[in-house]
């Protein structure tokens, strides 16, 4: 049995923060310089109290709507729910359990959280593919959602200008044709201190010495820490090697790929990777400027936008590469077809 990525959709919160809005808070900066530094012009920010699970529910509802327009109640066919987030509703039970209930999925269904940050969608896709291909499950709903704005201090421009909130939903189904290729994965724990939310778990509990701006009120979900130089070094070291390895294990040459979609980390990282990987401009998809870095959702959002832009069409071969917190990385090649269907 093989597996396919059948459908995809996404949700972005209504509230938008522009570079002019950031300049109001950081008057020594200019909107132009922020755009040049980050590659982002607009980022979406979750409403007060709008948890990642709420955004994931919105994205899933939009995906279900695609099927209900064809008279199909997709919820009845889902037997696996994977939810990628780093801000769960609570420690237990898993947030996927709550989403399972809110989405009205059937009882004989796997529900699992995957807190894997920027590599989350790819790790989820690998799990979904494996579960479908092994005939354990038939139709897996893969959800990603982050409210990174909740873990960014308001006086940290370097983080605020890059990150954005959002969610995505994808359907992976078992099928006769194989639309999801071989994966290459990796992890380097040396990068753990360069990108993450320390002081937020059992080893180092959430600290009240984590002030958010001048008012000194602690951040209830921790504070994101990023060493930009180390993240850049990691990206330029591992991602080109990942690209070549993914081509190799899938027996493909670079020219066989119709569109390269990399994790939309920042404009600076994407520019450097495009140059180092020597990918033509027209084959290197970017949607960072008006979306921002939505962490685990950048890849599914970019794929959905590439489909709506017509940059990815029926038969396109697309390389998807995720990389980030850990450090971790994961990549594959998918073949997009408009006529893949879910498993009845």
């Amino acid at each position: 049995m093989s597996s396919n990525l059948v459908a995809i959709d996404y949700y972005l919160p209504e509230r938008v923060v522009t570079n002019d809005d950031l300049v109001d808070f950081f008057p020594e900066q200019s909107a132009q310089k922020i755009l040049r530094s980050s590659g982002v012009a607009r980022r979406h920010i979750a409403a007060h109290g709008q948890a990642p699970s709420d955004m994931a529910w919105q994205a899933a509802s939009l995906l279900f709507e695609q099927f209900s327009q064809q008279g199909i109640d997709l919820a009845k066919h889902i037997d696996g729910l994977l939810f990628c987030t780093e801000i769960p509703d609570c420690r237990a039970p898993m947030t996927a359990v709550f989403l399972h209930g809110r989405l009205g999925l059937r009882r004989d269904c796997l529900a699992l959280d995957i807190p894997a940050g920027c590599t989350g969608f790819m790790n989820g896709l690998l799990l979904a593919k494996s579960l479908a291909a092994s005939k354990q499950l038939r139709n897996i709903l893969l959800l990603t959602a982050e409210a990174t704005s909740w873990v960014i201090p308001e006086d940290d421009l370097a983080l605020r200008m890059i990150f954005s909130d959002g969610a995505a939903a994808a359907l992976v189904s078992a099928g006769e044709k194989n639309g999801i290729g071989e994966f290459v994965v990796g992890v380097d724990s040396q990068g753990a201190s360069s990108l993450g939310v320390p002081d937020s778990g059992a080893r180092s509990p959430l600290s009240i010495t984590c002030p958010n701006g001048a008012d000194g009120i602690g951040m209830p979900f921790g504070s994101l820490q990023m060493n930009g130089q180390e993240v850049l070094r990691f990206s330029l070291r591992e991602v080109p090697a990942l690209m070549h390895r993914v081509l190799e294990v899938n027996n493909l040459a670079k020219q066989d790929i119709d569109m390269f979609i990399f994790h939309q980390a920042s404009g600076f990282v994407l520019d450097a990777l495009q140059r180092k990987c020597d990918i033509p401009y027209e084959k290197f998809y970017r949607c960072l400027e008006n979306v921002g870095n939505t962490v685990s959702s950048t890849l599914p959002i970019a794929l959905a936008k590439a489909l709506s832009d017509g940059k990815v069409t029926h038969g396109s071969r697309v390389m998807l590469l995720g990389f980030g917190v850990g450090f971790s990385w994961s990549g594959t090649v998918i073949e997009w077809r408009n006529n893949y269907s879910f498993m009845q």
Binding site: Q229, L232, R233, L236, F268, A272, R275
Partner: protein
């Protein structure tokens, strides 16, 4: 690989810096435009164009453009 090409690459990427103003003796920290973004730009150029991985400590250890170019050449020779 020569230092003139290296300086040209820096001047293309350092958008705010006047063209022709960078010499081998230019001290990075003395450039009025120098900022954390410029450090990232240098690391990206050295990685993408010379395939040399520079750390933040490497950058702290060099003063001039010429010092940096020498470091790249030494790393390439290893």
């Amino acid at each position: 690989m020569n230092i003139t090409d290296f300086i040209e690459k820096l001047e293309v990427e350092f958008e705010e810096v006047e063209k022709g103003s960078i010499t081998p003796n230019t001290v990075f920290l003395d450039m009025k435009e120098w900022c954390s973004l410029y450090a990232l730009i240098v690391m990206a150029i050295v990685s993408t164009d010379y395939d040399v991985d520079l750390s933040g400590d490497d950058l702290v250890g060099v003063a001039t453009v010429s010092d940096l170019f020498d470091l790249i050449q030494r790393r390439k020779a290893i």
